[in-house]
Symmetry: D2
Subunit: 434 residues, 4 copies
Amino acid sequence: MTGYFDAIPPLSFDPDADGPAFRHYDPGEMVMGKRAEDQLRFAVAWWHGFGWEGGDPFGGRTFDRPWFPADTMDLAEQRVDAAFDFFRILGAPFFCFHDHDVRPEGASLSESRDRLNRIADLIGAKMENGGPRLLWGTANLFTNRRYMAGAATNPDPDVFAHAAATVRDCLDVTHRLGGENYVLWGGREGYETLLNTDMLRELDQMGRFLSMVVDYKHKIGFKGTILIEPKPQEPTKHQYDFDVATVYAFLMRHGLEKEVKVNIEQGHAILAGHSFEHEIALANALGIFGSIDMNRNDPQSGWDTDQFPNNVPDVMLAYYEILRGGGFTTGGTNFDAKIRRQSLDPLDLVMAHAGAMDVCARGLKAAARMLEDDRLEAARRDRYAGWQRAEAQAMLAPGATLDGIADRATAAGLDPQPVSGRQEILENLVNRYV
Amino acid sequence: MTGYFDAIPPLSFDPDADGPAFRHYDPGEMVMGKRAEDQLRFAVAWWHGFGWEGGDPFGGRTFDRPWFPADTMDLAEQRVDAAFDFFRILGAPFFCFHDHDVRPEGASLSESRDRLNRIADLIGAKMENGGPRLLWGTANLFTNRRYMAGAATNPDPDVFAHAAATVRDCLDVTHRLGGENYVLWGGREGYETLLNTDMLRELDQMGRFLSMVVDYKHKIGFKGTILIEPKPQEPTKHQYDFDVATVYAFLMRHGLEKEVKVNIEQGHAILAGHSFEHEIALANALGIFGSIDMNRNDPQSGWDTDQFPNNVPDVMLAYYEILRGGGFTTGGTNFDAKIRRQSLDPLDLVMAHAGAMDVCARGLKAAARMLEDDRLEAARRDRYAGWQRAEAQAMLAPGATLDGIADRATAAGLDPQPVSGRQEILENLVNRYV
Amino acid sequence: MTGYFDAIPPLSFDPDADGPAFRHYDPGEMVMGKRAEDQLRFAVAWWHGFGWEGGDPFGGRTFDRPWFPADTMDLAEQRVDAAFDFFRILGAPFFCFHDHDVRPEGASLSESRDRLNRIADLIGAKMENGGPRLLWGTANLFTNRRYMAGAATNPDPDVFAHAAATVRDCLDVTHRLGGENYVLWGGREGYETLLNTDMLRELDQMGRFLSMVVDYKHKIGFKGTILIEPKPQEPTKHQYDFDVATVYAFLMRHGLEKEVKVNIEQGHAILAGHSFEHEIALANALGIFGSIDMNRNDPQSGWDTDQFPNNVPDVMLAYYEILRGGGFTTGGTNFDAKIRRQSLDPLDLVMAHAGAMDVCARGLKAAARMLEDDRLEAARRDRYAGWQRAEAQAMLAPGATLDGIADRATAAGLDPQPVSGRQEILENLVNRYV
Amino acid sequence: MTGYFDAIPPLSFDPDADGPAFRHYDPGEMVMGKRAEDQLRFAVAWWHGFGWEGGDPFGGRTFDRPWFPADTMDLAEQRVDAAFDFFRILGAPFFCFHDHDVRPEGASLSESRDRLNRIADLIGAKMENGGPRLLWGTANLFTNRRYMAGAATNPDPDVFAHAAATVRDCLDVTHRLGGENYVLWGGREGYETLLNTDMLRELDQMGRFLSMVVDYKHKIGFKGTILIEPKPQEPTKHQYDFDVATVYAFLMRHGLEKEVKVNIEQGHAILAGHSFEHEIALANALGIFGSIDMNRNDPQSGWDTDQFPNNVPDVMLAYYEILRGGGFTTGGTNFDAKIRRQSLDPLDLVMAHAGAMDVCARGLKAAARMLEDDRLEAARRDRYAGWQRAEAQAMLAPGATLDGIADRATAAGLDPQPVSGRQEILENLVNRYV
């Protein structure tokens, strides 16, 4: 037992508390017919919470944790204890992990698998004791130098095979622990320079790999969702899963658009030139929305800052799109967020999560009120009302032709007059809910 | 006759000239088995050359041209004369235009079409006299206020119909003038705010529209290529045809990936977070490469600066990807570039094009030498050579399974060692050709 | 009388209103010892409200206003009427204008001055009738093509002289109308290309110009503040008044740091790579904070979008820095913001301002509560408390030397241990006030 | 002896070589009256060449070097051997280092100093044997966790003192080894969040620190130049030495503008929103140009990529500004550039430098030709020729007043007509030299 978090009692909901507490997140509060906890489905990310040491490109570890460096099984086991202590403080319903977060890599694939299984036994035992559930598992295919030029897209077929074994083992463990999803983030599936890259070949390798993952999921009876997490770049100069639209193109090309969904991260959306709500809305439109990695990217920084969310109006717009799409099914709100490297204390880690959970709860509840009020949706429907006319519908129906429409428009002397888009009035409306 | 360019004699190829001339672009020089002119297929963009008045968001017209404001048919006709004078000076083999560039809009669709046809007669007559050919035509569906909320994606179905009529008329004229392509740039097909937008509906409208355009093309026997021009934003906050991957997703969704290709613009690629060569390489990989809008975006500016290209090493990498993909078929190099608003003189417009043509010729010739030398390609092939092994091929073949590969990798104790990507050495190699 | 805004009654404070009203901005509410109106000092920007026609680089006017195009004195006078009708609806205490916003330019400097004076008479009469006051006046030295290469920094000395005359006339009118500040925004004081630019010469010209403006201010007894408005670029590729630090350097170089302050715009700060609150805090630190142009820049757009603010937490941080610095003196909150070009209706313009005023009032009141609570400030003071020790103070005092400190540190074996920066906990704290 | 580079023979100038050689850099070639070697003054950066292990935020060491991890004096000594072997292969005339690059930190300040001195003895001995000279030394005040919240700007005065001791020791060693400059890069002198930051206090601490460094330099008789290296951010969210203008403001505020100059890095300029040549030109205009860190930043990446330069036209513009300003005095061309983490081989490191040296030599020689031809400068002078008129000069002279100029301009009816800026023609001209 590390005792690392012993000084911090479990947090409870207390809107008037002065000390550590939830001021807005009440797990049992009903929001659009579900408990807030079941709408939000919060998950703690193992890597940032227990694996990250506080380093950045210009400096090393700043955090003192009793389990660093976690390069032995003994320390890895201590870390499991600490993690579950932490989950208990927050009352977190879910967690997420990579293989690399929970066990030191072995000298061989089989040793790595064995270690993963041993830790999974330990985790599983803690889960059975009323602990949190596994939102998703995933394989780290980017830290080890063997993956420096990609995993499924590597020029060396042995790396492809190594990655296949690793994903198989992680999917097995995710299945065994009752994971609700399995995520693939292709952090090195991309390129540093086009000069040495055969892009078509690499994309085909990646498509083949994903198809086999889907087949294997069905073979073992895993009922969770396979999720791809888009990101435009970093660590690579260009990552193939650039954004939601790019992932959708890839899925269509390989016939996987019914099998695989997306896990959308705020910071990755921003780096790709989109708003978070855009990516969610697009995924909903395309039928591939799965889950979110909630965080925030510093708007003045050009890299993935993975900060905890703290802006309620921004978060509200994201949950609004999620609720408009029907809310989460297997997905949830994973905090893919890390405390700043100067936030050294155990309480910093706890309060970063607690503050973010409050921000998300405020955002969710505001979004629910706005959706239930239906004023924004009514305005949206009104704007397109003209398309309900029979003549309009006919233009979208199979028999319509360009010249048929053109002849009609010309003969009728159509001269459509623009109508206000009312953007500022709608923005004001949104501000009434936050 | 405007006489606007009378003081400037036609340019010829003269590497040692001190005054206006081509120093690198020799139309007849053989490059990879074709005349340079036929590899590069230069086109002048009517809008920037003869329509743009030198305004920016903080100031109005700076250019004195005898045909401004071109709001009468008489001035539009003078502009045609000036344009063909200009083409002759450059020896430009192609040009491109929007309807809006060549005729003032009429009070009705039918008047607009009539005017377009009258100007097209004039243009056609000049083309028959040994003038340049039409690389592509297109409809301007963004300047008139009726399109402020989109054309095909407009909330008002009458705007959709108006756009259909306009595109029909432009496609007719493009066909009549022997255009080799027809371009759709959806400058307002996107949104300013998600709050008033039904994205799925708008995407479906856009898909329906494009399908009808393709059907109409076949109906009238137009043999040219239909091209979509991606751009991430501007004027809209978000434009649906964000980049090549997004367009591909859209085409796949509507079953049009065999019918429509892309016209890739350097500045648009940059604004979307990609290099120009990335977008070309990706389009080639996906089988949808069509044509390019050559220009350059100021790397310190966050908007579409549409400057003339002037960096040979950058341009060379773009042509290298084009040549690797087999070169242009119906596409070409359209200068979607405008002189700066302080470049007031006729000679500025001429020399901006001439300088860019030289830059492109240098880039093309360097790319051709590099491709013919095969050293870069040999390095690329070597890097993936491991995939030629039977065992590797089997992993990509239909029967392979994740667990099959995983078992083999584990049993074999695979421990692949990374190999240098040699990026800097390859970059040095590239520099030997420019 | 245009009657343009006749259908819209004056807005009042009514937190429970369903229709147009202020829900948060109550001019008479006391905030840190002053009326909210006197803390916020809202101003309407004439150019966006009454001059902007809804154009963007890809399309022209969308707005129907009875006074467009305002190229005659008659229409300019109608515009004055409309503007004051608008001010009355909002109860706006201030407005701001350029010469170019209020009168059509004349054929000569003297005609332009006469026209300006005639309009100023009209404006002055309306101000006397209990109308709003002039927060600041300014000269438009960027729209006319004569200024395409700069005003004070122009390569042509006659342009410098022309600009001097224009600023003199605008400063006279600003003085006559009781303006509380005079602003210089050097929209074209920069360059498009270094290749044709003599930067040192241009900076010296600009310094000389500013010195003469300051001298003239004193000569005529103008008591208002001279303000420079930083912006990094746009319309120029590079603008000399890049950001607050750059302006401070320029003022120091010309000995004007006691005479001139800055007018900081949110969108300009963002384009320069800073947060708005950073620029305000820095200006306060350097003693040159003057006023703000409140707006917001779309985080996914790389140009100056000039939208109305709508994010309360963001705005709150800006007002927090303003209040920490003692609040406005001659400065105020000018909405340098424009409605989107699809926002066609009079009500759009009114509600855009009203919504923004509510957002600012919420932000201000939250900031005031946070400052009065002193919890954040107490945390800040604690963090630096070590510097109160005598030994620490001595290091900053005149006698200290590097080697003296070094010897002491080495002898003492100093090994300072880092302390948590508590960023997330402080961010949570902030969220308790919004 | 590591023997790490033994397989690679020294490179020589051979324009026709097929294997490793300089194709453009001939140290003895005369360029504007100096040997190319003396114009370029190339330096190898110890940290990237011998300290960097190939890690990035998503993965650890990829490079196998016999001296990793260099945490013992024995390995540090091996690294010195390897570095000088490397310098010999390149014929590099200079190198640069941080204390942290060359010696493992000791348990105390005194142990660290002793170790630094021992390594300096070793380095000094190798320099005496005809080895390269020291372009600059510097202290690493950012890697150790004690500096996580800054060095001179730290909230803890003991960190300030620790930093003072460290800089003292590094300056002593730099002086002893004949260093031509001493650099301060304030990688952590900035903030992560304004919420816990007292900016004015921190800026004053930094000013005090720098003043003491300057005093100490004079005390010990160090004749080299003190250089500040601007960077806008990373690792901090905001770094105080944002760009050249910001550093100049800081120097002016503390009366140090005659004592301290700037070391400008290409990638830092880009991250601050400037071109490299802008920052050089501005530093020359302000009289504070010192030295350059040559590298390139990936235009699609938002962080400091520190790649080797490879674009001759870009590099040429930088050297053009350097030559226009009179060339380097104590400064030089330091390659603050690192090979990509996939570039594993010793030859990659050698050829990255060699390729960059060739690129710089091509750029320098093109710049020299352009400057000697004087065509660009003649065009620049012509553009401002009007300012030679007596009337124009008078406007810039002491007696001039705003109203005096205004009256004259108005009376004369000045109506200046714009003249072409000829940007594209000048860009074409530049392309004749590369």
